[in-house]
Amino acid sequence: MDLFHNLILGFSISFTPQNLLYCFLGTLIGTAVGVLPGLGPVASIALLLPVTFKMDMASAIIMLSGIYYGTMYGGSITSILVNIPGEAASIVTCLDGYQMARQGRGGPALGIAAFGSFIAGTIGVILLMCLAPPLASIAVNFGAPEYFSMMLLGLTLVTYLSRQSMIKGLIAAILGLTLGVIGLDPITAFPRFTFGSINLQDGLNLAPLAMGLFGLAEVLSSVQNPEEKLTFVNKRSSLLPTRQDWRDSRWPILRGTFLGFFLGIPPGGGGVIASFASYIVERRFSRQPEKFGKGAIEGVAGPESANNSAVAGAYIPLLTLGLPTNAVMALLLGSLMIHGVQPGPLMYQEHAAVFWGVITSMYIGNVMLLILNIPLIALFISILRIPYSYLAPLIVVFCYVGAFSINNNIADVLVMTFFGFAGYFLRRCGIDTAPLLLAFVLGPVMETSLRQSLTVSNGSGMIFLTRPVSAAFLILAVVLLSKPVYHLVMKYRKNMQTLLLRKRANS
């Protein structure tokens, strides 16, 4: 009954014309900004934060939240259409979304991303309302060993994404972790691999890295085989998902929703791990796993749902413990504090109106996102009608502007260009760059957790096995890693047996 009353209170706050307008503006700005590569949710919220200072508390958070999930969807538009992830959580959408667009199925891909995001966002909000307090207490018990094991499992899972061999997937992950090391040490602030450059002291920025590895590398790869791009432009099908698409996507959407929500709760997780994990799960569940990476709609539906419900999950530690789990949440925390609200266990009682107003506005935001984006699919798809010879230089220009605008620094542009060439080289070598990018994101947290765990345990690796959650993650990672080795051994034995039989037959 309490929940029902709280919901009514929340809707009475968020349904005011003023807050509805702010919610709409937030989702609109978020989607528009998410489409531009480089300007992710962090940059757009940071830019618009001062605008909200004069608003009342609930309106400010409602608008900023709208920007957050608007950017999440906007990021997937560029991932699907031009293979440039708008932000980290959309990286995995590139894998199948872009392939669908190449096959002329960009419309269904965008449609299922929008519907999946809506369904996941809605269920996520319901879960947030019901499960916030108990889940927050579980998440807060995660220590450094659990984080390390969780990240290790995440990376192990990601190597399965590699469209080539697992070794190449692991190489990509190690490369990403190594790139994550560049900059000041996360514990002692000692410079590592900076070669005396001030620009490298802050480490490499995710956006230039992603735009280089995906955007510029894509342009370089496509100028090599222009015929492929012609077929891509010439094929077009329906704008919305078909009945078969829905049948293929319903379970991935549901699985992605629940997976994303729970993975969104622990700090460091969020949409990135959620979307990757969902992709892996869908590939495992699929009867035709070979379709993945070649335009499987399940590869778009699951991850897109997961990254959206992870947004709802990420609100749990923020609203109930005052713990921001990612940069966007940190900005939202800052905004709440500027308005005199201290998020934490007492927020329920002290600022019930803001708490429930924000939660219900997320639901309204999801509806707005759907209303806003479904009619726009035709417009987004028209991008594909531009011949690639004209689209390619525009992608280059947008990538460069995106990289430059992060810090107004030419160093980011140079970094992006370098990784454009590196991405092209890695593609030519058959190394998938998606695991690299995920490892780059997880690397600093993983290293800090490893070093903290070893310091706490006096150098004993047993700390990872004596804690049940950590041990479970590690065992799963080892099982996954040993699977290809097992297959290799079995294949070798089979080959040897065949050889022996042939020899016997000959003799």
Binding site: S165, I167, K168, L170, I171, I174, L175, L177, T178, V181, D185, T188, F190, R192, F193, L216, V219, L220, V223, Q224, N225, P226, E227, S389, Y390, A392, P393, L394, V396, V397, Y400, V401, F404, S405, N408, I410, V413, L414, M416, T417, G420, F421, Y424, F425, R428, C429, G430, I431, E447, L450, R451, L454, T455, N458, G459
Partner: protein
């Protein structure tokens, strides 16, 4: 085994060894108190090991990749355009550099007609400048046109 695979494995192996050597110049610490060089050293070691494994596993695999379609001249031209764009972006300024890079890609990489290429480059550079600088307030470098714009 494909030649490019062999070369890429060797390049990555060298990179792994390089990371190991560079991390040895950092404080390594102990297992009880791991320091700055701890993680990079093992990452370098893993990278070198995996590259070596990739090199060995790929031995004997048949080359099934067709190089017939590949057009490296276009890649060099597009890559050159990107490199020049990065170098000239702040020096020459956004407007001129963007005009140049679009024209380069259209004309040299895709062989678009001169008139169309010139028209598209001028329009795209000008419109994007208005969008980013005046509508979105992105402070793009004016370069040598500093006195003329803004």
């Amino acid at each position: 085994m494909e030649l490019k695979n062999r070369w890429s494995s060797l390049v990555l192996f060298a990179l792994g060894v390089g990371v190991c050597l560079l991390s040895l110049r950092l404080p390594f610490g102990t297992l009880r108190q791991p320091r700055e060089g701890f993680m990079p050293f093992f990452l370098g070691l893993l990278l070198a090991g995996l590259s070596l494994a990739d090199f060995l596993f790929a031995q004997g695999k048949k080359n099934n990749h067709s190089e017939a379609k590949n057009n490296y001249r276009r890649v060099w031209l597009a890559g050159g355009a990107m490199a020049f764009y990065a170098l000239l972006f702040s020096f020459v300024g956004y407007l001129l550099a963007t005009f140049g890079v679009i024209l380069w890609i259209l004309r040299l990489v895709y062989r678009v007609r001169w008139g169309t290429a010139l028209l598209f480059s001028t329009g795209a550079a000008g419109l994007s400048f208005i969008l980013f600088v005046y509508a979105l307030n992105v402070p793009l470098p004016p370069g040598i046109l500093k006195g003329l714009i803004r």
